[in-house]
Symmetry: C2
Subunit: 416 residues, 2 copies
């Protein structure tokens, strides 16, 4: 894509009204724009990052046999009354609820359990057509009085939420652990290699624990306790030991860290099905309430988390799998025509290239390249052309490699 | 994809609470589910149709040099006050506006001109970085007291909206007509071959006409007047002649018809820029308000329009370009294992196949296939296997073709 047509507006200075690293870097790099506290527009560069993450999540959700749908965001009060959540004080604190001018009462989506169950109950349910597994990427709203963490905590944000309905607790459990593995694959693929699966309180609705996916990070608002040897981990809510005590699973040492939650999974059991009067026919023809699971990944939050993790003093350093582009092509001096030719040949091969076609100084262009943080920077200049070459540098590395023009596309293809 | 895992629930009978053909057919075919009047969930089959349309629109928007973004849905009152639209009685009728518990005032998106302008004004604008062209696929809300037309008129729906900002009226005009052509390509590609570009009133904000894209249809809520010879067409609002009078452009005969609006394009000029105090530096260094264009396609409405147009008494008849799948593979009698093998080999070649793996009667399976309306139905049965063949039938045609198993994938590849 052409830089000049992509509405990329970098800034030298930090925005004054942002304290969070992710918001500062993403605004400076031209990835997002702030509408109000906790609400951002994804600009072309940021939206490309989001879309790459979305495709990874989609692949992993399809791989566990779930189907993609889209549920509405504006919900009538009645369906939320069935579970009692409409009037729940905890819900009222975070859900935007209002009356329209014609006195109808609505709430804005902050989760979709009720809507999912309303969709499935319109079909006759039997043990033969369970489990049902459906997910969507959709907007959530949450009344945050103080939203100061950029994309990490928004008034409006995008979630991937998956819902599943099962004939037995065993079947729910089996799928629950499959989703856990799928989530770890997602986080690994987007570049987050050390996400911990942390036990958390089940709340009033679940018998066992729920699980959070936590990334250890100094900017995290959560606190977790984890073993330095095995996979045992608990969040602050349920952790009852003392720091320094041995890991209850393997005897290793328990550590404490602040962390950011990037996903969570819940087994609600039959509570919501019972409240909404939903049953399925078991193999004896008897009516039973089905078991509900619910699984979320904060999609726009992930963009913010990646910005917190992958940066240096010069700007972003995107992992290859989610970078807005793989290659940042630029020219110096009088080499624009040759660079443009190169861009066209790479674009024709469907390579993932941002072509900085601007007539700006070398200083501006190279510092913009660092700020945007695309993994590979390719420079075409009179100096490189004299050797029939381009100069390639990996973001964050000091090593510069000269690659012959006629070997470039095969060199780049190895990266994808 | 496997039928048994795709949450496809067809219905023999029409839903009792729907009068619109599109809603009846799409609910019966398992494409959508109704949450409340004017609000639907897209189920896996319907979402695939939506996604195919979205990709076509995305390609055409990228082809006119515009960039994809995502703007928020929950808007603070202040930005809508700048243009005076917050308090406009026409806006108040359709925009959901409310106060949160902490007394902040919000409105839900029914269009995004103010938000787009708020995004661009944070950058220093000059004739050098204009035009700006950005689009998104996003949810719109509209308080419809009586929403009875299925996907044709919703309280919540998906739009593609594109906004452009220009240094001159000429540049806006030039892009405006480029978008007109892009829209006609979109409608042609999704299967709507006879969409008319209809002149409409500019309203108070535009000097020239705006244009609507209207599909002649007996279920349309609009009325248009068009020439039977040339491309002249006007909507009811501005049409001042009498039926029977000659076309003012070519002398042909003017006809009247009901129609469905599938898109519209506006040239707002500098009115909104002036109200919001937005200027750009022209080549003389002087400040001038830039020219705004706004261009919409009703995305979820298009799914409804296609359902109104492409059906027969047995169900849907999707055009190939937007069908949820290209091939509906099913088996009769004891041929399941052979059909499953075939499915796996086609899936491995990334062919777009729905595999009806259910143990149901031939009657149920064939009538479900007609209801869902995938273009090509492939049957594997003991009878076809005796001839090392499958039976292929195009939806809506009576002709049945026998194709040898080892020639099937090349036969199908020719369809894509």
């Amino acid at each position: 894509m052409r830089y000049s047509q992509s509405f990329i507006n970098t800034r030298r200075d930090d925005p004054k009204d942002e304290t969070a690293t992710n918001a500062r870097l993403l605004i400076r790099g031209g990835f997002i724009d702030k509408l109000m506290a906790g609400s951002y527009t994804f600009l072309p560069l940021g939206w490309r990052v989001y879309q790459k993450i979305e495709q990874i999540v989609r692949e992993e959700m399809n791989a566990v046999g779930s189907g993609e749908i889209l549920m509405p965001l504006l919900h009538p009060r009645d369906v939320w009354n069935e579970t009692g959540r409409w009037a729940d004080p905890n819900v009222k604190q975070i859900m935007y609820q209002f009356k329209s001018v014609d006195e109808k009462e609505y709430g804005l989506s902050f989760t979709h359990e009720e809507i999912f169950l309303d969709v499935v109950r319109k079909n006759s349910l039997s043990y033969k057509n369970l489990p049902i597994k459906l997910y969507h990427f959709s907007t959530k709203f949450r009344n945050e009085p103080r939203a100061k963490s950029g994309l990490l905590r928004g008034r409006e944000f995008i979630m991937k939420d998956l819902y599943s309905l099962h004939a037995t607790q065993d079947d729910l459990d089996k799928f629950y652990w499959e989703v856990k593995d799928a989530y770890l694959r997602v986080f690994d693929r987007v570049g987050l290699k050390d996400v911990k699966v942390v036990e958390a309180s089940g709340g009033v609705f679940t018998s066992g624990h729920t699980h959070e996916f936590q990334l250890v990070s100094p900017v995290g608002e959560d606190n977790i306790y984890f073993c330095d040897k095995c996979d045992w981990a608990q969040n602050k809510e349920i952790y009852t030991h003392k720091i320094g005590e041995a890991c209850p699973k393997c005897g290793g040492q328990v550590e404490e860290a602040s962390s950011i939650e990037v996903g969570n999974i819940f087994r609600f059991g039959t509570v919501y099905s019972e409240k909404m009067g939903i049953n399925f026919k078991d193999s004896d023809g008897k009516d039973n309430p089905p078991y509900l699971g619910s699984y979320g990944i904060g999609m726009s939050r992930l963009v913010g988390v990646l910005a917190e993790v992958f940066n240096d003093e010069a700007g972003m350093k995107w992992p290859k799998s989610v970078a807005p582009f793989l290659i940042h092509l630029t020219f110096l001096g009088g080499a624009k025509d040759e660079a443009e030719k190169l861009y066209k040949s790479l674009a024709q091969k469907n390579m993932d290239v941002l072509w900085d076609d601007r007539e700006e100084s070398a200083g501006v262009k190279l510092s913009d390249a660092d700020l945007i943080g695309i993994p590979y920077r390719v420079i075409v200049s009179d100096k490189t052309l004299a050797k029939d070459s381009v100069e390639i540098k990996e973001r964050g590395s000091d090593k510069v490699e000269m690659v012959k023009l006629d070997e470039l596309s095969s060199w780049l293809e190895r990266l994808e």
